[in-house]
Symmetry: C2
Subunit: 493 residues, 2 copies
C-alpha cells in the first residue's frame, strides 16, 4: 500500500472530485467524526503556518498587535446589532449546559439537567460583539485611539453543506478589529488592510485578485461597506479570498462605546474588521494545481526542494549521500528549505509521484552518472520540465529558479483570469458567458431586485464593484436603467 | 487619568490581591463578560507569543509537527476511556443546539428547539479522544509510526473558581499527542518532552523546576504515569507548570488503534500526551515580579529595552532623538528589541513607573548632560539599580547585560527555592513547615490513604516523586511504614 501511486480524478472529468481527491491524497486535511469539522493534517497545517507567519508579519508592519478574546459569546450580545443577529444567529453552535453526569439508568454519560446555563452561550461565528463589549472599558478619550488589534482564532458557523477548507463548520482565521476617532481613519484602515490582503494573495499565494466593494446584499452583517478580494478558480468559479469591513459606528452604538474627542465632546467610535481564513488553503489548491497534484508557490511550500538519490547499491548511495550533504548545506545557507529523501523502502518512481502530488516546487535527482559528470537533474513542478545542470553554483541556480517559479505560477493564473474575463452588453450574451465560467463584466442598475433576479435565473452573483476599473457608464443589460460602471459577475464558491 | 501612577497592593499585605492588581494594571489580561473566560490583552499576548514561538521551535527540533483537530468532541467519545470520562465529564461545556431564532413572542433571539443535535458535542477539555479516533485510520503498520504531532489550541474546562491565567474556563495551550510502536519509545518520548519543558522553564521563563512523577491520585485521567515540572512561587505555594503523560495503550484500546508490527502481528499502539498552557504566564508573573510590578526575563520580554528622553524643550528633544536613533539601530543590529518612548504628553517619572510596572528589563534614559558627556543612564529592572555608562559600545554592553539579567532572575528564584525547601522527619515538623510555605521533603508510605489524610489535615499535596533526588529510604512520618525516598509536599495553585 505504501508503494501504491495515488491517482487523482482528472479535472476535466470532475473538478469537484479532483479537488476532494487532492486534499485527501496530498495529506492536507480530512473530514472528522464531527459533522462539518475537519482535521488539518501536518502537511496542510505546515502550509497554513507559512500563511499565518507571513500575514502576521504584514499586520505587525502596519502597526497591529495580537490579542485573544473569549470563544464563547453570551446569546444576548448577538442581538445588540440588528443586522448582525440576522446574519449570524441562524447558524451557530449553542452551549446550554456545563456538566455531564453518569446516567443513573446506566446509559453512559448524559447531560446533567441541573447544570443548565442561565443564559446560553454561542461559539463565536465572528467576534465583533464580544470585542466591542470589551472595548467599551478600554476607550475613554481620543488618546486611547486608534486600537489596532488582530486575533488568530477558531470560529464556528453551522454550515449545512461543507467542503474541506472551502466551507467548514469550524475554521481557523484571523480577525482584525480596529477602533478609530474619525470616519476617515476607519475608511483608510479598511482599504489599507484590503491592500495588505491583495499584496499577500498576489505575492505569496501567487493568486491574482480583483479588489472591489460588495453590493448591499452581499455585505457583512453589520457593515456599511464590505471590501473584498476575488479570485478565479480553474473551473471558472469565483472565490472570495478575504474581506475588510467598514463598520461605521454600528458596533460602537450597539455596545455604547463613546470617547471624548480632542474638543472634549463625546462621540461614538468608528470601526473596521477584516479577516482571512483557512479558506485561503482552498483557493491556493484550486488555483494552481493540476492532474498530477498540488502546485505550491515556493514562498508557501513546507519544503521548497526535495532531493531523491538514484542508486544501485549501498556504496552508490553512500557516495550520493555525501555529495547531497554539501548541496543541502549550500541551499540552506541561502535560505532554501530542503528535504533529502533517501528512504530505502521506496522506489524513485514512487517518490517522484509522491512529491509531485505534494506540490514540491523543485525536485532534484542524483544518480551515478551525475556524480561522475558533476551534474544533477532539476525538475520543475510548475512546468513539469526537467533539465540536467552542473552542480557548480547549483544553490544560487535553485534560489533563482524558485523565484522564477513563484512568478510563473502567478503569471499563469493571471493569464487564465484575463482570458476568462469578458465584457458583455446583453442578457443573452451574459447567460451564455456565465455558462462558460469566468468573470463577466456587465452593467447593472444598482438595485437589489435586478441583482436577485439575475441570481435566480443564472446562479451568478455580483462578486464586486471593482475599485480600479474603467468607469465608463452604460445601461443595465436587463432593465435598461443607467449604470455608472460595469460590475463583476460570476458563479462562485 | 493617563498620567496617574498605578499602585499595586504590596505582596506582604495580600499576595493574591497583588497578583490580580499586577495582571490588570500591567495590561496583561482581564476578566470578560463570560464567566471564567479571560481577555488576553496585547501586552500579555505578546509575552505568550514569545513563549509559543520558542516552544514551537523546540518541538520542531525534537521532530514534531503541528496539526489541527476539531474543537468539538462527540459526547460518546469521552466515555470510551473509563478514567478519562471520570476526570473530564464533570466540567465541560456542552453544545446541544445549532441554531437560534427570533422569539415568536418578541423576546429577542431564543434557542430553536427544532435545531437539537442528535448527539451532544463537548468543547474539548483536552483532545486525546478525538485524536485517537482519528489516528485509527492513519495507523496500519509499524511503518506509519511514530506519529509525533502537536496542536496549539484553545480548550475549556468549566472551573468553578477561576483566576486570570492560573485557572480559567477557557485557556490556550499546546497538546502533543504521539503514537509509538513500543512501550520503550513512548516512555522515552514522555521523558524527552518533560526535559524540553524543564529546559524551557529554566532557560526562558528563568524558573527553576523540580522534575518528578505524580502519585496515582494526581495522575492525568487516563494516564499510566504523569510526569511534571513543579515550580515554587514567592508566597511559598507550588505551581504545576507542565505535564507529560505516558498513556500506555489505554487510548489505543479505547479507540481500537492497532498496527501490524514488523513480525506481522497486530498490536495496540503506545501513546503519550504532553502540554503546557497560558498558566505559564501566571507562573512567570508570580515567580519574579515585585511590588513595583512585573519582572520579565529578557528572553520573553515583548521589548527588552525602553529608552526615555529627558529634555527641557523641543530643540533638546531633537538632539536626543538623533542620538537615540543611532543607539536604537546598533541595538537592533545585535538582535535587541527596543522601544523609544518620546511621547510628549507624559512625564519621564510617569514613564519610568509605567515601564517598571510592565517589567521591561532595561531602561535607558538620556538627558542634556548625557548628550554632552557621551553617556547614558542604564537602569536594571531586576535589581532596580542605575548607573551611568559611556555610549561608546553601549549596544554590546546592553546585550551582555540582558544575558546577565536573564541569569540573575533565574539565580534569584533558584536561591529562593533552595531556601524554601526543607526536609522533615516528623508530622509535627511537617505541619509547621507547611504553614510557612515552600517545598517540604518527607517520607511517605506510598498509599493513597495517607496522602489523602495529609491533604485533609494540612491542605498539602504530594507535588511529585522527584526524579533526580537522593534515594535514601526511611519511614512514613505518619504511619511509620517503609518509604523508598522522600517525596515533595506543598500547598499549591
Amino acid at each position: 500500500m505504501a508503494n501504491e501511486i495515488k491517482e487523482l480524478t482528472k479535472r476535466e472529468v470532475n473538478y469537484s472530485q479532483w479537488y476532494n481527491d487532492l486534499v485527501i491524497k496530498a495529506d492536507l486535511a480530512e473530514n472528522s467524526a464531527v459533522r462539518g469539522c475537519m482535521v488539518i493534517k501536518p502537511y496542510g497545517y505546515a502550509i497554513w503556518e507559512k500563511i499565518q507567519r507571513q500575514l502576521d508579519d504584514m499586520f505587525k508592519e502596519t502597526g497591529h498587535v495580537n490579542a485573544y478574546f473569549p470563544l464563547l459569546i453570551p446569546k444576548s450580545f448577538l442581538s445588540r446589532e440588528a443586522d448582525h443577529v440576522e446574519g449570524f444567529a441562524k447558524e451557530c453552535a449553542v452551549v446550554t449546559h456545563y456538566r455531564l453526569k453518569n446516567d443513573p439508568e446506566g446509559g453512559g454519560v448524559i447531560v446533567d439537567p441541573e447544570a443548565k446555563l442561565e443564559e446560553e452561550l454561542i461559539i463565536r461565528p465572528t467576534s465583533e460583539t464580544i470585542i466591542w463589549n470589551t472595548y467599551r472599558s478600554w476607550i475613554q478619550s481620543y488618546r486611547d485611539l486608534p486600537i489596532l488589534i488582530n486575533q488568530w482564532a477558531n470560529v464556528m458557523r453551522w454550515e449545512m453543506r461543507t467542503r474541506l477548507f472551502l466551507r467548514t463548520a469550524e475554521f481557523l482565521w484571523q480577525e482584525g478589529h480596529t477602533a478609530h476617532a474619525t470616519k476617515e481613519e476607519a475608511v483608510e484602515e479598511t482599504t489599507k488592510m484590503l491592500n495588505v490582503y491583495a499584496d499577500f494573495a498576489e505575492n505569496y499565494l501567487a493568486l491574482p485578485v480583483l479588489k472591489g466593494v460588495k453590493t448591499a446584499s452581499e455585505r457583512f452583517a453589520g457593515a456599511l461597506d464590505t471590501y473584498c478580494i476575488e479570485a478565479l478558480m480553474q473551473d471558472g468559479k469565483a472565490l472570495q479570498a478575504g474581506t475588510s469591513h467598514f463598520l461605521g459606528q454600528n458596533f460602537a452604538k450597539a455596545f455604547d462605546v463613546q470617547f471624548l474627542n480632542n474638543e472634549g465632546k463625546r462621540e461614538y467610535v468608528w470601526s473596521t474588521s477584516w479577516g482571512v481564513s483557512t479558506r485561503l488553503m482552498g483557493a491556493l489548491i484550486m488555483a494552481h494545481s493540476d492532474d498530477n497534484g498540488l502546485v505550491l508557490p515556493p514562498k508557501l511550500a513546507p519544503f521548497q526542494v526535495v532531493i531523491v538519490p538514484i542508486y544501485k547499491n549501498e556504496e552508490g548511495l553512500a557516495l550520493i549521500n555525501e555529495k547531497v550533504a554539501s548541496i543541502t548545506k549550500e541551499l540552506k545557507d541561502l535560505g532554501v528549505s530542503v528535504k533529502y529523501d533517501n528512504a530505502t523502502n521506496k522506489k524513485p518512481g514512487w517518490k517522484f509521484a509522491e512529491y509531485e502530488l505534494k506540490g514540491v516546487p523543485v525536485r532534484l535527482a542524483m544518480g551515478a552518472r551525475d556524480l561522475e559528470n558533476g551534474t544533477i537533474e532539476v525538475a520543475r513542478r510548475d512546468t513539469l520540465t526537467k533539465e540536467t545542470v552542473s552542480i557548480e553554483g547549483i544553490a544560487q541556480y535553485i534560489k533563482n529558479l524558485l523565484e522564477e517559479i513563484q512568478l510563473n505560477i502567478f503569471q499563469k493564473a493571471l493569464k487564465f483570469r484575463e482570458e476568462s474575463t469578458v465584457a458583455v452588453d446583453t442578457y443573452e450574451e451574459f447567460k451564455e458567458q456565465i455558462e462558460k465560467g469566468g468573470f463577466v463584466l456587465a452593467h447593472w442598475d444598482g438595485t437589489a431586485e435586478t441583482e436577485e433576479r439575475i441570481k435566480e435565473e443564472t446562479k451568478a452573483t455580483i462578486r464586486c464593484i471593482p475599485l480600479n476599473n474603467d468607469k465608463t457608464p452604460g445601461v443595465d443589460m436587463l432593465t435598461g436603467k443607467p449604470s455608472v460602471q460595469r460590475v463583476v459577475f460570476a458563479r462562485s464558491y
